[in-house]
Each structure stands twice: as structure tokens, then as C-alpha cells.
């Protein structure tokens, strides 16, 4: 039995108090949910416990024994194992090597490859992921599967304490179910689990207690049966006004975007739909169902094999990013880090990148010329930034997402494609982003929103299409939107979308 105890744990980054005087005790053999809005210090806490960073002050105890880690390896040997928020896999190595990274089985001086593959295979089977080949190159797997590899890696360390930092943010429902079954099993066998998630709906399904941090300070901890959604939100944000999706009348005489028989092998085929001015259209589908590719194709980032795309009634003959942008389309990528933002650049530069030609049509530009466009979006979207010239990587996920949106708005688009706008963003930030989307829709903008979290779609969209096995299989209008029927529509037939 292992009790985790913290005394005044504190981490400062210069003037930033990422975590301040954290004093708390986690009961052993339970699943503890740790919640808080973006940048509240959750990952910082986890990283200290994992030995990835050292506390500025304060102490950590396991069963009364003081913990002092100089490296992640030491934490592992103490039985504390972490699945970090950012995927930490080596893309060029095999799945098996990633699972046993740093601890490959040896025979004499050499790696025992047979044992490595056998162990990995049985471990993957144990967690219900036998479809993953231990010899496969990790970088070739989908994000979801990489996440499973990450969890397998944690399991291989036979943890006493397991720390999961947003393990589900990239997982689809079926995979989340698998993960929860695994967590249940571990709990039964006495493992203590600390679980960070922004998906508040999944907490009752998995957690025993809920602990909230706000701005680096511990707010409180309650048992799950006392943690109604309102209690949780109050702990996270203080008072939060209820979300009201406005009902709008959409004029369907003119379509902003019409897509006909679009095909991109092997992802989708015969995709046709219309998007109207002022409409927010959701596209649901399982992980890996090809929604990102669909958006990319519409945006001209990939070339369709067949089909026709018309913007405001005019067929675009040769879709490329440049022509689509000129036609008024904007695209917000699903991965802020890899393709949405230039992380090394300032918030200022990221806000001006997409709309460059509009901000400075002559090709000459300067900071003073650009500043109004930056200020406008910072104010309009309530982006919290200290210095707009500081690298965008120093912002929280929610604010980074707003920078993405702000950058697009500076190009004054008519149609916006949002790929996973809510990924890794806290509830409040997510609501703000919805409100921004509605605001824009009210001004006649047409939006497409893709999300793996079906609740996002039901909360946000006027109409939802389901992409299933490469075809649009269902359509829901806003009055009959609810996550359950949406989920059922995504799941009809077998679940090859996630397994193929």
C-alpha cells in the first residue's frame, strides 16, 4: 500500500509560480483525477513527481519515505511511472524498443531481440492491443496507436504509482474504453493512479476523487460521488456562467461551400455536402476516419483524386492552398505544435502570418503596421498574453488555440475549417472558442468543425455529418443533436476505422 503525501511542493519558473505550496495526500489504491484549466500547474506537478524536473521547494513522500529524484530513472525505480502529455516516443525505433526504452533485455552484452519482441507482444496483448506489431516502426503508427504504445511502455514498468497526463486527448471512444478497463484492472491490483484530463465527462466513469488546482494553488479535493459537474467547474474556475448555444436562422439559398463527389484514396469517396453562410457544420467520425484529410483536401493542401469544390457558387478549377485562401477559406490545424503555429516565433508573428497579404498588400511591412491587427485579435478573442513579442510556445494551450484562430481572422475569411479546436484545451477556453465561432457565424462566416470529442460537436454545431468508412453516412440537424446517437452513428458497422 502506498500513500502519496506532499508538503508545500512549489515550482517557480522565474517569476511564474507554476505550482505554489501544494500540500495534499493521495490515498493508495485509488484513481485520483487532477483537474484545472490550462496552465494551472498540473503537468508541472506530474513532472516533479516523475523526476523530470526538480521542485523549487517542498517535499514529497511515498509511504512516509522522502522522495528526491535527480532523474526520471530514479522515479521509475521507486515505482512511479508517467505517461506524459506530450508524446514521448522515438519515431524511428520499433514499438518494442520504445516500450522497453532504456531497459532493453540483454543476453550477455547484447540486446536479446527475441525476448524483447516476445515480451512486448504479450504486454500488448495484455492491454488489449494485439493488433499493434511490436516490430513496426513507431513513427508510422497513428497518433492514437502511439498513445497506446506509450501506455504499454508505462505498464511494462509494473508501476506502483501511475501518472497519466491527458492520456485520452488523442484517443477515440473505443480506445478510451480500453484504457479505462485497464485502469480499473490496475486499481484492483492496488496501483495508485493520478489522472489528468480536460474531458470532465469521463471522470465519474473512472475516478475515485477529484482534486482541483487553480493558478498553481490547490483548491480542494472531493470524493467522486460529491463531484457534480457544477462542483467540478466551480473548483476549476470559480463561478462559471452556463453555456447557451444561440439558435440561428440559416439562410439556405446560397451555399458558401459545396463539395461534390470528392474522393481521396484510400481515405474517402463520394463525399458531397453543402455549407451555408452563417452555419456551423460538424464532422464526426472515428479516429483515423480521414476527417483531417477531408479538410486538407477542401483547403487545397492535398490534391483530390476526383470531385468538385465550389466556393460561393464558383467551382475552383485547380485547388491549391493559395487559390483556396484567395477564395476565402482558412484552416486551423489539429496539431498546434507540429503544423498550426511556428513555436519559435512570437505571438505577434503567428497572428500575422496567415493574413500577411491582407495586412501588407504592398509586400512592405513593419511592426507598427502589424500591431493593430495583433491588438485587435488579442482584445477581440480575449487572448491572455504578456508580451506579444515573446515566443508563442510560452502560452497555454487554450491561448495558443486562440492565436491560431486570431491569425486566421486577420485574413478575413468567409469559410473556416477547424480541425480539433478543443484538443488539450480546458472547458473555459473551449467555451470561449465556441463563442468566437458563433460570433463569427452570426456575422455570416461558415464554419466546419471536426472533433473526436462528440460532446464538442453537439455543444457547438448546427448540423453534424458523420464520416464513416470513407463515406458520409449520416446527418444530424441541430435539434436532434445528442452525443449518444452521434456515437452510435459513428460506430455502426464494425470498428475498422480505428483498427485498420
Amino acid at each position: 500500500m502506498s500513500n502519496l503525501h506532499f508538503e508545500g511542493l512549489t515550482k517557480h519558473y522565474g517569476a511564474v509560480k507554476a505550482l505554489d505550496q501544494f500540500t495534499h495526500k493521495f490515498e493508495s489504491g485509488q484513481v485520483h483525477a487532477l483537474i484545472g484549466k490550462n496552465g494551472s500547474g498540473k503537468s508541472t506537478f506530474i513532472k516533479m513527481l516523475a523526476g523530470a524536473i526538480q521542485p523549487t521547494e517542498g517535499q514529497m513522500f511515498l509511504d512516509g519515505r522522502k522522495l528526491e529524484f535527480q532523474s526520471p530513472g530514479e522515479a521509475n525505480s521507486a515505482g512511479i511511472v508517467t505517461v506524459h502529455q506530450e508524446l514521448s516516443l522515438v519515431p524511428g525505433l520499433s514499438v518494442a524498443e520504445n516500450i522497453y526504452l532504456g531497459r532493453l533485455p540483454k543476453r550477455g552484452l547484447l540486446v536479446n531481440w527475441k525476448q524483447l519482441y516476445d515480451d512486448s507482444r504479450s504486454l500488448l496483448a495484455e492491454i488489449g492491443a494485439e493488433m499493434i506489431d511490436p516490430r513496426a516502426t513507431t513513427g508510422d503508427l497513428s497518433i492514437g496507436r502511439q498513445q497506446i504504445v506509450e501506455i504499454a511502455k508505462a505498464m511494462s514498468l509494473s508501476p506502483k504509482i501511475l501518472l497519466l497526463d491527458e492520456p485520452t486527448s488523442a484517443l477515440a471512444h473505443a480506445e478510451v474504453g480500453q484504457l479505462f478497463a485497464l485502469v480499473d484492472r490496475l486499481r484492483t491490483s492496488g496501483v495508485t493512479i493520478i489522472y489528468i484530463s480536460h474531458r470532465l465527462a469521463e471522470l465519474p466513469r473512472i475516478a475515485d476523487t477529484v482534486t482541483a488546482i487553480r493558478d498553481g494553488t490547490l483548491i480542494g479535493s472531493v470524493a467522486i460521488d460529491k463531484a457534480s459537474p457544477k462542483v467540478i467547474l466551480d473548483m476549476m474556475f470559480g463561478e462559471l456562467p452556463p453555456l447557451q448555444r444561440p439558435t440561428r436562422h440559416i439562410d439556405k439559398t446560397h451555399s458558401a461551400l459545396s463539395v461534390r463527389d470528392l474522393e481521396l484514396a484510400p481515405f474517402f469517396k463520394g463525399v458531397s455536402f453543402d455549407l451555408h453562410h452563417g452555419e456551423v457544420l460538424g464532422i464526426a467520425g472515428m479516429l483515423g476516419s480521414g476527417r483531417t484529410e477531408l479538410l486538407h483536401t477542401i483547403f487545397g493542401a492535398r490534391r483530390a483524386d476526383a470531385g468538385r469544390i465550389a466556393v460561393k457558387g464558383n467551382t475552383v478549377s485547380n485547388p491549391s492552398i493559395a487559390t483556396m485562401k484567395a477564395a476565402g477559406i482558412g484552416y486551423a490545424s489539429e496539431d498546434r505544435k507540429a503544423s498550426g503555429l511556428v513555436q519559435s516565433a512570437a505571438s505577434h508573428a503567428n497572428l500575422c502570418r496567415v493574413g500577411q497579404k491582407r495586412i501588407a498588400p504592398s509586400g512592405w511591412t513593419n511592426l507598427a503596421l502589424e500591431r493593430p491587427f495583433v491588438d485587435k485579435q488579442v482584445a477581440g478573442l480575449h487572448i491572455k498574453i504578456g508580451d506579444p513579442m515573446a515566443p508563442v510556445s510560452s502560452l497555454s494551450g487554450g491561448n495558443q488555440q486562440k492565436i491560431v484562430v486570431g491569425g486566421l481572422l486577420n485574413n478575413e475569411p468567409d469559410i473556416l475549417l477547424f480541425d480539433e479546436p478543443g484538443r488539450g484545451v480546458d472547458v473555459q477556453a473551449k467555451r470561449q472558442i465556441y463563442e468566437i465561432i458563433w460570433d463569427m457565424a452570426a456575422r455570416g462566416l461558415a464554419c466546419i468543425v471536426v472533433s473526436t470529442e462528440l460532446e464538442d460537436l453537439t455543444d457547438c454545431c448546427d448540423r453534424v455529418l458523420v464520416l464513416h468508412e470513407g463515406r458520409l453516412s449520416a446527418e444530424f440537424l441541430n435539434e436532434d443533436l445528442d452525443p449518444k446517437s452521434l456515437y452510435a452513428a459513428c460506430m455502426t458497422g464494425d470498428d475498422t476505422g480505428a483498427a485498420a
Binding site: 483547403f299 493542401a301 492552398i321 493559395a322 485562401k325 484552416y331 490545424s333 507540429a338 503544423s339 498550426g340 503555429l341 511556428v342 513555436q343 519559435s344 516565433a345 508573428a349 500575422c352 502570418r353 496567415v354 500577411q356 497579404k357 501588407a360 509586400g363 512592405w364 511591412t365 513593419n366 491569425g407
Partner: protein
């Protein structure tokens, strides 16, 4: 508050401070260093590596590299001389338009090579490190082939002006350096193309999805550095009054060091033209100091290496703090 502000400023300009420290050191130990004449000398000596460094800074910021600039300098000097010689039919004093033709042909050739490097990167994905390395051998060979190994002397008597002339007491190459600085500085800081360069180097995919023509951006940078290298070759051809295939050997590494010493990140997306200038000046002062100190040439290599290491060390150390 002002204190941390000062500290930040200090850190941002740490390389400049190190350069100043070197200046003071040399001023007190090398006779003749602090004369105006010598200062102008330094500027003239860094003119060619300097302008190439500005172009190289753009290339590195956009996420590429060009190892062929040294050979490009050599081949440009030779090509200019060769064209003048062929065009003027060995006249003793070739007319100005033959010189203009030589310069034009050379610049076109350089532009083409730069474009070709960029094209290889785009169409076949060959990393510029390797394609430009192969280009380095090819161009060096071409310089030798054109001149058949010996220097071509074909310029009119006034041609010296480009490399060794003075205007208002200041050497002509210094003006060219200034033009190159202003050009790249403005490009990097005050044009949308400059913004695109940083974006492409910082995150190619994000830049592409923003509708930036990433390949065009990269090619422009490759072309600019090639053009500057060609200009450098023309300046040198004037300085030594002939097209000589042996010049500028190893200059690529000198230029790249300067750029990196000046704080441009080899990973792309970060750095400034001003930083590249500070880096070039640092190396220029170092070489000048070595010449003035005049001690054992072998020890000079060691001291030079050690001073570079020391400067980079201190710079990174301050940065880290």
C-alpha cells in the same frame, strides 16, 4: 524591474559585448589597430565574407544551408574574367560594356545555381547540405576548367575601383557591404517575404498551411546567397586584378561560423542579420588582430580556435543564465 530589463538587454546583446571586449583587448595590445585606416581595412576585409554571411543568415533562417559559397566566389571571379577576355578578344583595355557583360553573365549564372540548389531540394528532397557539398566540388572544378588552372588577367585599368578603389576615403567594398546589409536587413525585417522566411524556417508545415509558397521562399534565399557570393567573387577579381580559381577556399565554413557566432540557429527560424554582422565583425577583428600581433603562424591557429570557442562559450553561458 529596470534591473531585469537591463539583464535582458545584456543577454540579447551578449555577443556584441564580447565583441567590444575583444576590441578593447586588441586595441591595447596591437599597435596600429585603432587607426581609422585600420578600421576601414577591417571593414573592407569583411566586405565579402560579410555580404555572403547576410545571405547565409537568410538561408540558415529558412532552414537550409549552402556549402558551395566559397567555390561560387572562385568561379564567379573566373567567369567574369573569362567572359571579358573572350568578349573583348584579348584587347588590352576592354570596353566597359564587356565588363558589364561579364558581370551580368556571372550574376545570371550564380542565380541559376542558387535556383537549381533550391529546385533539387524541392523536387527530390535532397538536403541542401549534401547537394551544395557536391556543388562545391563541381564549381571549384569549373573555376579551374574555365581558367585552365591559371589566373585570367583581362580587366581594364579602371576595374580596380570595385575592389580597391575609395570614395570619400572609404573603400568601395565597404559601400557594397553596407548596401548588402541594408538590403537583407530590410528584407528580413520589413517585408512580408522576410516574415515568410522566418515562418518557413520555424515550421515548414505551418508555413505551408498558412498559404506561404515555401519552395519559392527557400529558392529566393538560395538565390540571394549565390548572388552575394558572385558579387564577392567580382570584388575579389578586382582586388587581385584577375580571375583566379584558388581564392576563397574554405570560406563557406568561415561564413557559417560567423553566422552561428552571431546567434543564428542552425535549426532555422531564429536569428538576425544584425547578429550575422556582429559575428562577421568578430571574426574580422580576430583575423586583423592576428595579422597585427604577427606572432608564430602556428600559434595563431590555436589562439584563433581558442578565442572562438571562448566567445561562443561565454555567449551561450550568458544566454543560459
Amino acid at each position: 524591474m529596470t534591473n531585469t530589463h537591463l539583464a535582458t538587454q545584456l543577454r540579447r546583446h551578449s555577443m556584441l559585448l564580447i565583441l567590444l571586449a575583444l576590441y578593447v583587448l586588441v586595441a591595447f595590445t596591437a599597435r596600429g589597430f585603432m587607426t581609422i585606416d585600420n578600421q576601414l581595412n577591417i571593414l573592407r576585409n569583411i566586405a565579402v565574407p560579410g555580404m555572403i554571411a547576410f545571405g547565409m543568415a537568410l538561408v540558415i533562417i529558412v532552414g537550409e544551408i549552402d556549402l558551395s559559397v566559397g567555390s561560387m566566389v572562385a568561379v564567379s571571379a573566373c567567369l567574369t574574367a573569362w567572359v571579358v577576355e573572350k568578349a573583348s578578344g584579348d584587347a588590352f583595355e576592354p570596353a566597359w560594356y564587356f565588363v558589364a557583360l561579364g558581370i551580368a553573365v556571372t550574376l545570371c549564372f550564380a542565380g541559376f545555381v542558387g535556383w537549381f540548389n533550391g529546385m533539387l531540394r524541392q523536387r527530390v528532397g535532397v538536403p541542401t547540405f549534401i547537394s551544395s557539398l557536391a556543388m562545391m566540388a563541381t564549381l571549384a572544378g569549373m573555376a579551374n576548367l574555365i581558367t585552365n588552372g591559371s589566373a585570367i588577367e583581362a580587366f581594364p585599368s579602371w576595374y580596380y575601383i570595385i575592389g580597391s578603389g575609395r570614395f570619400l576615403g572609404v573603400p568601395v567594398p565597404v559601400y557594397l557591404l553596407a548596401v548588402a546589409f541594408v538590403f537583407t536587413y530590410v528584407l528580413a525585417n520589413f517585408t512580408t517575404l522576410g516574415r515568410s522566411i522566418y515562418a518557413v524556417g520555424g515550421n515548414m508545415e505551418a508555413a505551408r498551411l498558412s498559404g506561404i509558397d515555401i519552395w519559392r521562399t527557400k529558392k529566393i534565399c538560395m538565390i540571394i546567397v549565390a548572388l552575394f557570393a558572385a558579387t564577392g567573387g567580382i570584388i575579389y577579381s578586382s582586388l587581385i586584378n584577375s580571375g583566379n580559381p584558388t581564392i576563397a577556399r574554405g570560406m563557406e565554413l568561415e561564413v557559417i561560423s560567423a553566422v552561428i557566432i552571431g546567434g543564428v540557429s542552425l535549426f532555422g527560424g531564429r536569428g538576425s542579420i544584425w547578429g550575422a554582422f556582429v559575428g562577421v565583425l568578430f571574426l574580422g577583428v580576430l583575423i586583423n588582430a592576428m595579422t597585427l600581433w604577427g606572432f608564430n603562424p602556428y600559434a595563431q591557429q590555436v589562439v584563433r580556435g581558442a578565442l572562438i570557442l571562448g566567445a561562443v562559450f561565454v555567449n551561450f553561458y550568458i544566454d543560459r543564465k
